[in-house]
Amino acid sequence: MKVERMNIERINIDQVRSDFPILGLQVSGKPLVYLDNAASSQMPQAVIDRIVRYQSAEHSNIHRAVHYLSELATKEFEAARVKVQHFLKAKESREIIFTRGTTEAINLVMHGYGRAFIGKGDEIILSGLEHHANIVPWQMLAEEKGAVLRVIPMNDAGELLIEEFEALFNAKTKFLALSHVSNALGTINPVKQMVALAHMHGVPVLLDGAQAAPHQALDMQELDCDFYAFSGHKMCGPTGIGVLYGKAHLLEKMQPFMGGGDMILSVTFEKTKYNVIPAKFEAGTPPIMAAIALGAAIDYLNGIGLANIEAYEGELLAYATEQVSAMPGVRIIGTAKKKAAVLSFEIKGVHPHDVGTILNGDGIAIRTGHHCAQPVMQRFHVPATARASFAFYNTKQEIDKLVVGIRKVQEMFS
């Protein structure tokens, strides 16, 4: 209990909430209770201000001109790259490639690495927990090359079966694409151990960190993964920006994903010489404002402290799990021992969309549906779930409102 109080105190919740203008909103005449953070998080004033400052006084195209604004924008854009480097504890800033989001980052690896190094009969391992963004690109590659997808199964709690995972490796295994944290169930996979296992078989690993990056400190040296992907909009930044981290020696031998300006050293009609990394993978004008805003979001999260965020959200999840699992007729889907702040649930006899609509009537925003993880839904034999996902600006009072809302749904449908 003492520990619990300490963590709650480490986050000054009133201060934090006042940093987010949108949290003052009224929805359906009630104060907004925003519990859809796994889909997209909200933006603090500091990031909004950074966007305004960039657009008001710093904007131009980057890497292209000698004038004041172009140099300033270039400097700020590259400074954001360094912030991401430190955020991930990457060795070098050239290992950070800006993309539009996780989806594009994964597709980049599929095209740049997969198409060059994965061939007919080769095997790619995925987990049963993956978001469609980490399934479909590999399926496309498998179809194109005649490669085979192998899937790591999970138990009823939503935990991957590590022994079965080990048994999937053979001489044909060429790649492992794995989520760090599941968006549908919240399971935190033992990625460090799994990466080490894959490396024992000489297999490179991409981690989909879309749901991990906002909630815990990351260390690429410790995880030792070869690629790591995440999205800015799930970590208090804007949409339209994401990151692919890749080990330099791999990025260097990969093919470019898109062709265009900035990714070349020289172009003649006979031959184009590609630029060095990261430019090789950043064809065209990038989302400069969004990258700089992502840098500001990282500053903001660091100001609060990722360890504090992880501890605080852990308490919210424990509280919500305790409250909701005590309700008759409600089943929590995803009960892994190690979980991020995601609570997927099902109310007996009520379709999740009705749950979502009724909660919305009380200003409570949750996500309902398959969460872009249809194989997970199939594994648990549900068409969809209702999902509440928490951020460090949520409170126990908001979880209480969720519980009252669930009870109201049950009363209506009784």
């Binding site: 009520v350 379709h351 009705d354 009724i358 009537g361 549906g369 068409p383 969809a384 449908f413």
Partner: protein
């Protein structure tokens, strides 16, 4: 709309709990299947149409309360009606759900179906209410099961296929 009881009225909850005309018809001469990939709502409709009249109709499938109640009440409303009358109801229901027909001030034949008027304020749920009606429209036009829709799809994003 903040009072959800305006939408989730007792009639709707009752049809959700005990859907009428639920099941499949043997020897039906009209079929269609409607699917809303966003929600996972899935409706299978079978009918017997004789001399331009809907003699019997049944549906089965999985869906939210709005979709199931809409399907259940629809089957009750069109059973025994002429095809043209059913088509008029499809049109009116769609217009009500999308907010272009106010059932209280404009002439219509919706009757009890007016309980669904509230979905017009919930854009993400309009499709749930319309899906059965869209499927009915497809079934009426697909004596031998063809894939329908395309440009004329009144519910973009939903897939309807004759079967």
């Amino acid at each position: 709309m903040s009072d959800m009881r305006q939408l989730y009225q007792e009639v709707i909850l009752d049809h959700n709990r005990k859907p009428r005309n639920f099941g499949s018809l043997s020897g039906a001469n009209r079929h269609a299947e409607g699917h809303n990939p966003l929600c996972g709502d899935h409706i299978k409709l079978s009918m017997n149409v004789l001399d331009d009249k809907i003699e019997t109709i049944a549906f089965e499938g999985e869906g939210c309360a709005i979709c199931k109640a809409s399907a259940s009440m629809m089957t009750g409303a069109v059973k025994g009606k002429a095809v043209q009358e059913a088509e008029t109801l499809v049109e009116e229901f769609r217009n009500m759900a999308t907010g272009t027909l106010d059932p209280d001030s404009q002439t219509n034949h919706l009757g009890k179906l007016k309980v669904f008027a509230g979905v017009k304020d919930l854009p993400s749920r309009v499709k749930c209410a319309i899906l059965p009606w869209h499927t009915l429209h497809a079934a009426l036009h697909s004596e031998i099961s063809v894939s329908t829709e395309g440009a004329a799809d009144p519910i973009p994003g939903a897939e309807i296929g004759g079967q």
